[in-house]
Symmetry: D2
């Protein structure tokens, strides 16, 4: 349920409304937008509306949220949420590109990648320290050491760093280094991890599961938001289909739908979606045209030697060419590209 408050409402009136809602078993989430103040009331089993709520001082309107996701829905918050970290902004008309290697392999490899993507205009640096791998015998990431390298490069370049957390026990340590904490596709319904992410006060990027519906994806974001962390970025990274030429199939309608159903920013990962570096360019442009607020792209200084996901990584030259095309496209779509370098 959404309780829309008068913009001039006082603290006492707000508190009174929250108390009544809590009596009825609701958790309250207060959102102060530019144009309205809203109390989101979620999680009561009964779903009952307190009888006098609508007539309490400061209350303008009481609305039920029809969707199963509440805090995540556009019914709850009409304006786009903008998530910012350093020069990076996504949502509300801002587009940013995050790029870097699939896995942090060494300090040198990370530095080389960071410089290249920054020079080409990326504002965020991606790099995995903890890698979820299908085989227990594959390279699992540099872990703590990888986090240290990311921490160093962040100081050096000023880029916003995004890296993945895979274990509820480690997520705080990851959040100390990361500007944006990534939850991977395989963990989209790892509820203990989502709950921990809800306790952070750092942006969380939530990848869509390989076979998740848009509703399930938004419900996963609801787990994070219901913990009080409202800075969630959704990331479409391709779904599993019958196609064998590609690793996954980028779902641009999910981007368009998520933008319509939710106020959260949505970005796309065309590298995992296609699984081939040749597909990154068309899929990146298509994602933006469909409404994406940003891109997450794998770039490796030497893709042929990558320990992970080499075939889908761009080299710095191809990434730089892509950035030129992105820079030409974004204004045609009525949006603004955040640039790292002058």
């Amino acid at each position: 349920m959404i309780v829309v408050m008068d913009l001039q409402v006082g603290e006492k009136e707000l508190q009174a409304v929250e108390e009544v809602l809590q009596e009825y078993g609701y958790q309250c989430h207060l959102i102060r937008g530019e144009n309205r103040i809203v109390v989101g009331a979620v999680g009561s089993g009964s779903g009952e509306i307190p009888p006098n709520l609508e007539t309490m001082p400061g209350v303008e309107k009481v609305m039920r949220v029809m969707q199963p996701f509440k805090l995540v829905s556009r019914e709850f918050k009409r304006d786009d949420t903008v998530v910012a970290a350093g020069k990076l902004r996504v949502g509300g008309g801002f587009v940013s590109v995050l790029a870097g290697p699939c896995a942090v392999e060494s300090e040198e490899q990370l530095k080389e990648a960071a410089r290249a993507v920054k020079e080409a205009g990326a504002v965020g640096l991606r790099g995995g320290a903890y890698k979820p791998r299908t085989s227990p015998y594959s390279f699992q990431g540099l872990m703590e050491k990888g986090l240290n390298y990311l921490s160093n490069i962040k100081k050096e370049t000023g880029m916003a760093v995004i890296t993945e957390a895979v274990n509820p026990a480690d997520i705080e340590a990851v959040a100390e280094v990361a500007d944006i904490v990534q939850i991977g596709a395989r963990n989209m319904q790892n509820y203990p991890l989502l709950r921990e992410a809800g306790q952070l006060r750092k942006p969380v990027l939530l990848k869509r599961g390989l076979s998740a519906t848009v509703e399930e994806w938004l419900m996963a974001a609801e787990y994070i938001m219901s913990g009080g962390n409202y800075e969630v970025i959704l990331c479409e990274r391709g779904i599993r289909t019958f196609e064998t030429y590609t690793r996954n199939t980028l779902d641009v309608s999910a981007i368009a739908l998520a933008k319509r159903l939710s106020h959260l920013p949505v970005i796309a990962d065309p590298s995992h979606a296609g699984g081939q570096w040749r597909l990154v360019r068309p899929l990146a442009l298509a994602s933006l045209a469909a409404g994406a607020d940003g891109l997450l792209i794998e770039v490796h200084p030497d893709p042929a030697r990558a320990l992970c996901d080499g075939p889908q990584s761009l080299n710095p030259k191809h990434f730089s060419e892509l950035m030129s095309e992105v820079a030409a496209l974004v204004p045609v779509l009525g949006k603004t590209l955040c640039r790292g370098e002058a």
Copy 2:
């Protein structure tokens, strides 16, 4: 197998090559491009290469085609195939928009739709006379009467008309009226129908099946081309996925892949893909950004009263707005939009 010929090769030398290939059980397809003349040899069970073929006069090179599709593949023909009908051109840097109602319902409805889409800049008019419907009790199209209306409107407007054939027995009658004969998604592997389409000397638009892989789609096109009809337009119209908010899921990587693997033009149908008129705009733009050479869009003068697919049809106003965005996007992608009206 592809036999690349000297550009100055004479008819006699060509014939000699074809005779040798036929002796070995091959069918021959001659393609005269601007930069090379090629004999495509397909369909021999043995796959044997005649021993002296490479040394015959006029033969430059003999290459095996690795893909299971032969005439359709870019190995066979490097340059984009451009299919033209009236002012419509798709492929080779040209983009065209075909629009109109899902089904022809009456002469008045068709005229109204045709005028509206022409005015907004469409060069092709779509409209189904034979409608494949899931239920035997649903409206199945006006059939012959629908073809007559299409024939009249074509004379009146000069637009290229596209309409669907569903029965091998009727395809010639359809081709007499249509400038482009459509094969629907459910018939993508209707081989008797594909064989008849291969006998036509009219462009054929081949929709991808709901769960077909890109390879199966290109193999279906190979059925048409192996009959001698080289004017095939591929059309991505969304695949079946687990998503329930949308009717189907537009697969933009299939567009990018088909453009890479084949020389044939590829267009997108964002109306069927999304199943909601609100999704048509983002999906149309995403398709073009992914490399599509055109769009097939459902427009109805009064979507709320459509006998078929109303919820996914644009009204004329929304279509006109979309055309403005398309006109702004296409040049950024380095292509040319074919316009109907000055």
Copy 3:
């Protein structure tokens, strides 16, 4: 709508009811069961119930059919439909096995296969004369010649012959030879072919499409029944999934569902479903345990030399072993196995 009539109703009363229904735009289908006589009224756009229908002489009850499929549904006909051809019976507690090669390759190959499967207890002989193949360059079947061989072997062995029709223009010729006409998975929504099948007065086996839902499958059966052909056998042959070890994935819940939602007999094709001969045994037994009324199994005298689907064909020895297990299982499930040989 279903109009349940008094068991003692006279012809005149029946006719009066049908006339009223026809005035309201319905087609009428009369089904005389052992326990009730029913008039099925389908296909009126309005869906209006004639006001005095319920009080007409002979009318016991008027019921709407809630499912989109009408004649096919168990609401329409409560008792199992039993389809019979020679010694073959499927439905109503009877189980039959049809076996034979994927494609008729020669008269000798067909005879050898027929003798082997008959000896092992099959009552039906399968063999394709028209083969729908993904590539235009693959073996497409012996066509008319194949039909002749089937006709000869039928006279010799007395087995019920099942073979596929792929073109509406050929279906009558196929039906002259076949005891059961097969509609393949790729043609499940080939409506002109289904309509022609509805005009036959021969049993039709309708395979489920590779990605069809159970509802779409039953709607395809409705096309056949609405033409007046009530002898339809449904055949589950595996759906497309992400699994790469198997060709398709046998869907046993579809068997159980189809038996619950419809009165039609349902059989399974474990050969196409698994795509590997080693999987035929477990999938065949699982299908029967899930409620299937029969099996369609590929058997080839020499699978290694088959022109089509060799890897999924059983040799005669393995087929004979499977038949022993089937014979042991069927009575435990409370059903009766129809045997060819004494």
Copy 4:
């Protein structure tokens, strides 16, 4: 790599072999079967075979494992693994049924369910204390309290208790109560959880992910086994498909394939697969016919009042009827049903 040892090999020779393998970067897993002793060597990046390995004392044969899963594969261990807990045995010809409510709701509900399923012949009791739910606002299980109730009922009934762990931090606490620790479908690729499960010395039941391939499922089991826990039970619980009548689609070929590719026992969960109590019976019988070594079935004393998954739960009467059919079927398949009650 598998090193097959002489059955009479001494400890010193074994140790020498393991030391050489460890020098080359391998982890060693020793499996003593009835007919052979095997050292499994996994996880070396190089994959190099130590040059003199084959000639070392006690070594009979050195074989590479072709599959990406090693310890899990039948190449590694030819005989069926039998997992036992109390009267429960699965694998090696033994079939057991585990039943009980989806979630532990109260001590009374659990007791009632336990008595009913034990009386009907179940040897294992299922009941979730930690419930992964799509919505953060749904009932999430009784957690520690639920574990206590399970611990009490276990003492009372002597049944083997199975319950789910969802967080690596809690898995040891769960394992103190549970005889079999369940890893749910959504956590099939939750690698930190799988690694913790690998440290347990208790049987682990690993459910297949909703869209996982059989290979991915077996790779997840490899994570557990590579930690040294060899008691893994695989559980097929249905995959996501396009079908809307059912919750998921039971994949019986996955059961047959897993039994062929791996030595681990495989059981089926027909309750989650179908999502409807009416489908439990046909799906349970089909699973056993396909080769399953057991069943996991939801039974609730009063399904209409269940807090979770009521529609797919059997009531005690229907469960008891099912057990009679299972008892009749298992011997026909050449296996033995483990019974709780005399």
